[in-house]
Symmetry: D2
Subunit: 249 residues, 4 copies
């Protein structure tokens, strides 16, 4: 485990450029707000923002190799992330143990779908352009991602995401959401993939001030800490034809 | 659930063409032997063999749409299966609920890797060209795939597969193998993926008569029955923006 | 696997004796209604009702030894089931593979709590003595217990059960409920315990006609089929000090 | 999460009193050796030893209420732990989130069996009174309990534990063991139970110097850190009949 977690907040950064509503909510960009919420917290060594319009789409080897945990928010430009860069993110998770914290509409991003193997589609709705109430219930109070939260997080105005959410059953289900309109959703989901860990957290529309909510930010911070890399001494040996460690016959 | 299971045994069919050792063990092809073992068993409606050298690589729409459960054996020609055909198999599992039973070296096939999201690599060894002893222990005796088996299946001459096996933690772990040379392996693994089910079973080298072993064949049959499709009335509605079923506000 | 499933519907049978509302809904007792819904369905060999006021509390050795799957409904008299009888049910599940399908308020029954190891408590509410609306969403469409159901079962008048439900994370989560009053609940939960299988299904208040709903009854039938015993040839050998099957040194 | 973890090493302490072999290996008692290995490591606030022959069996309210994580080793005197004290340990895990790290023969202890709900029996063997070789393979390299370990821990002389191990499928399977004599075993198992976490680790016979092995001690330390309590602000509300947080009708 590294001494402190080096976080990269990957942010698509498109809505903030084109949508005045999004600019009003996140004048410096959503990535900036997420990064700021993590900076200086115990166990966090560094936080930087990387965006789609950065050189190398913010996914250069230099960035990936110096990232312990990456958070990911994208929505309208999933297809613009190159297949090669998406594959590099997947490999960094599976082979090198980088943690990946995928937020909200990131459920349709290339790395998330490749890591899960399913379609990852769902139902969605923004009611009257303002949203509806969501209640996010803790169902696994022993999980470190639930630490410090109340038994229920209430978001008064949010976008609805509804089942069926086409994901593999999470290894650990931390939160389940209730929506005013009648739907439920598996809102906090953990998986291990190879050497790495993957956490999905549902809230976070581009024009709703979700990432100012202190409890949402606590979940993000907890998720980043949970997703930090572990290290196998000497590495894992696969793709090999070993001599038998024990004598045969 | 259909009245009986329509099985397609997909077989790469390469070793049988080029390797006299493989021909000796499976003179009519490995696919034929697997198919024959399933035919006429309770609950099985039909069994056919499809191979890589068949029209459409044995993966035509007509075949996929009339298959409830597909078994898959491949090894030296994983790369020859077209990306398009591999994707069709994945979609048939995730979206339509086709069961997929992946055997032995099929762990590196395109559909298996895409459905799991990890590298799926492992260690391997054929000792003295004859193999070594494997003991396949049942660890989940309540699982239907273990039905009718003894607590341990012993294969005297087999290829070793060893950890780390780069797969997501199985939803259900049915078997764990011991090998003479000092390795262990998660040999019987179950996952759900979307509407479909996926079972991986380890034994089965091309030049060893594994698919004549009655207990191995019992596992295959159990796996096919476990993987049969289920049906949601009216289908699953995703990728949509529904009106709220409940009144809001 | 036995040729057909021998089902015992265990029913507390207290409310029907003392509460006119319960008598009106289930004039012959709730157990009778559940049993009737299972009789004659494919794969069901026999169905009988056993009740708390029967000899041996309906849990005699003769009954347990001829039961493949037991359904369990109890509420006001959990404490009257003797510790010895509860332990016999647990042993029959863990050691002999009997399936157990626990309904609604059975979550506080002695066998359920002993098999899970947690407190199994929850929140509850019957709104205005009539109940509120529940939407039971399928979250695992590949699971055989979801077979033949729509993506959502709607119960217009039901008792609310809310999180936190103090259970171990299910091995497989099939359903999640939404309630009008703002709660969610893990409504369909599967676990393996030793040689046996355990399914919990939430709906079923004593004065609400839940067990006349065709979709609820489909879930019960699916659950009984899923929970049927498997068989390890020769049995499982534990509590022993074996000679090593392999030569050491 | 508390600032540092307060650990109580619960030790049966019987073999050390009666068996000269055990005394030779652990002259100050096994508990002392385990405690010493944890003291002063990062994140550990305090470590104390509590034993069966202590007042209140080392399980007084004062001890339990000031313990964040308890390790447990017992073997010949499981039955001497009072039912009341075992139940207090279970409640402290489930209700208050105390972590429990159960070692080796602790698999038959009262708290472990009550928390899991199954029989927890297994096969065992000490070959030629000296033991045989065990290879403990990491199967979940992303898990924090595997941090800093090699892909395989080798113990040259150890007691064999073999499947079937009668436990519920672990929520996360970290290690699987290979034994010279032909058996495998699920050696590192994680479960959540209510507010608390439970880790089982296999090695540790009373007359073999297992708890001097640096890699074994690393697993213990990792397990203690993984099992530390989380905290739900305001606590979990169960066993209650709440007013609906949302307006009904």
């Amino acid at each position: 485990m590294s001494d402190g977690i080096r976080v990269t907040v990957w942010n698509e950064g498109k809505h903030e450029q084109s949508n005045p509503e999004a600019q009003k909510v996140y004048p410096q960009g959503m990535g900036h707000q997420i990064a700021q919420s993590l900076e200086g917290r115990p166990g966090i060594a560094s936080v930087r923002v990387a965006q789609l319009h950065d050189p190398g789409q913010g996914l250069t080897d230099e960035i990936l190799e110096t990232t312990d945990v990456m958070t990911w928010w994208g929505h309208m430009a999933h297809h613009e992330v190159s297949d090669e860069n998406a594959e590099k993110v997947v490999r960094r998770v599976v082979d090198a143990g980088m943690g990946l914290v995928v937020l909200h509409s990131g459920h349709m991003s290339k790395p998330f779908r490749a890591l899960l193997g399913t379609g990852c589609m769902l139902k969605w709705r923004v009611w009257n352009e303002e949203g509806e109430r969501e209640r996010i219930w803790v169902v696994d109070p022993a999980h470190p991602i639930a630490d410090g939260l109340p038994e229920c997080i209430v978001l008064d105005k949010t976008e609805m995401y509804g089942e069926h959410f086409d994901i593999p059953q999470p290894d650990q289900q931390v939160f389940i959401s209730w929506f005013q309109g009648g739907e439920v959703f598996r809102s906090g989901c953990c998986w291990h993939r190879g050497a790495g860990k993957l956490f999905y957290f549902r809230p976070g529309h581009e024009t709703l001030p979700i990432f100012y909510n202190e409890q949402v930010l606590q979940v993000l911070y907890n998720g980043v800490r949970w997703a930090r890399p572990t290290r196998i001494a000497g590495g894992l040996k696969r793709d090999m034809h070993p001599d038998p460690p024990e004598k045969i016959g």
